[in-house]
Symmetry: C2
Subunit: 81 residues, 2 copies
């Protein structure tokens, strides 16, 4: 199965990279930008085909390695491939 994982900074955590993107967009002439937040996107393909087991495995990957749960949130979608 394939997991599409989105990792984002929690609200209130400073995001200098997002601010840099926001300023650059403004300097390129884009108006009306309220906010930009940068996160990570990770696709993981695993051999596990049972949806429940795959869900548990991906959740553990996020908790153990992919996301820093002190400052980051994660969400994911699983799909069969």
């Amino acid at each position: 199965m394939k997991a599409r994982i989105k990792i984002t900074l929690k609200n209130g955590v400073l995001d200098p990279q997002g601010k840099a993107i926001s300023h650059t967009l403004e300097s390129l002439g884009f108006d009306g930008i309220n906010d930009v937040r940068q996160g990570k996107y990770i696709e993981v393909s695993i051999a596990e085909t049972d949806p429940e087991k795959a869900d548990a495995e991906i959740k553990k990957m996020c908790e153990d390695l992919l996301a820093n749960t002190v400052i980051e949130n994660y969400s994911y979608e699983l799909e069969e491939i």
Copy 2:
């Protein structure tokens, strides 16, 4: 409106960061990992409320700054906030 933008490397483009994650997951004891690809995830909130204009604006942001379209693909979803 708010755009949730996913930027991924095109197929065939080497992804050393994805490989590093894959190896680290294996060393942590996760089995059956077929592939890992790392991309970027960016949330942009804009003042524009017209869906068509917002779509055009976000597309231009992706083409002009956010994605390197030589080696990266991008996709996005727009939602009202």
